[in-house]
């Protein structure tokens, strides 16, 4: 595989992860049910853990530990050898497993198209629609403050 297609695939996986991690587990499951799933096994059983979330006060501030957040992770291997990894905030182990499965399928030439069109694209559309609606609702309540030229000076 050439470097550009490798990079394109990495970018595709990254974009898919961003969508899946923000989607509801029930939505992913609903979409995934409609796709023909290849044989797969859990390379790493879904598990919960903690990560330390670090923050900065300002762009040049010293990093500090904000607190811990629960994460779930899983690794799934297809019978054809592709390994997918899933990480998500929260304790939903099934969601982590489904994300890992999607990630593995995205790497397989045979299933990438089906997952992209059957799972990722609809979820992305729903996510974008939600964001736009929220943005529109917020924009509708926008108040423009302006100051008349004051008399002094």
């Amino acid at each position: 595989m050439t470097e550009t297609t490798e990079n394109a695939r990495q970018a595709q996986r990254k974009a898919a992860m961003a969508v899946l991690a923000h989607s509801d587990a029930a939505d992913i499951m609903g979409r995934l049910d409609a796709v023909a799933l290849p044989a797969h096994e859990n390379l790493r059983e879904p598990e919960n853990g903690l990560v330390m979330v670090r923050g900065r006060i300002g762009g040049d501030g010293a990093p500090f530990n904000l607190g811990e957040a629960t994460v779930s992770r899983a690794a799934v291997r297809l019978s054809t050898g592709e390994v997918g990894f899933g990480y998500t905030l929260g304790r939903d182990r099934q969601k982590a497993r489904m994300i890992a499965l999607c990630d593995a399928m995205l790497q397989s030439d045979q299933f990438a198209g089906a997952v992209e069109s059957g799972v990722i694209a609809p979820l992305r559309a729903a996510m974008v629609a939600n964001r736009n609606r929220d943005a529109a609702e917020t924009a509708a309540t926008r108040v423009d403050f302006y100051t008349l030229v004051r008399g002094e000076g």
């Binding site: 096994e41 859990n42 390379l43 790493r44 059983e45 598990e47 291997r77 050898g81 592709e82 390994v83």
Partner: protein
Amino acid sequence: MTTVAELPAGFIDKVLSAQSTFRSVMDAMARPGSVQRIEAVAGEPAGVMRGTAAIALTLFDHDTPIWLDARMSQTSAVAKWLKFHTSAPVTTDSSIASFALIGDAPGLPALERFAFGSNEYPDRSTTLILQVESLTTGPAFELRGPGIDGTIVLQATIQPPDLFERLAINQALFPRGIDVVLVHDDVIVAIPRTARFIARGT
């Protein structure tokens, strides 16, 4: 070169498998010389027995440096598998290792090369996990010590043949010392530092 696509899987059921394996190892340690079975099923890399794999997945973590003998480190498969599933660091310095995996007997260095712990922290010693040929047939070894009612006879085919003579250093070192877990397939026998070797049977 092993890629992640070829890595054997871990425990099917992480929590229960780790608990039952822990129980087997604890029972083995509490009853030196007794043969305990490990029920948990896990994928194992080439050269690693079922029992060894289960013990590794149960007891190893990022705080326990692991030393591998020449057989185990022949390919990077074992180290990668350990790293992926347990995140334990693999070290080449046997004197700081918490556990040492011994795949074949000539790979067992002099016991002085491992950690004995200190008088304040005798627990900071290396636990040897030694794969052996058989734990049910072979020469008889008579043991006594805490956890053994009188004496116990262990029938095993163990390499190196002078293992128990070498473990006699535990007597002088106490409370420091070396604990050994013998593994054959899915059965284990523990020889903690308090066990004393009396005699070879027939």
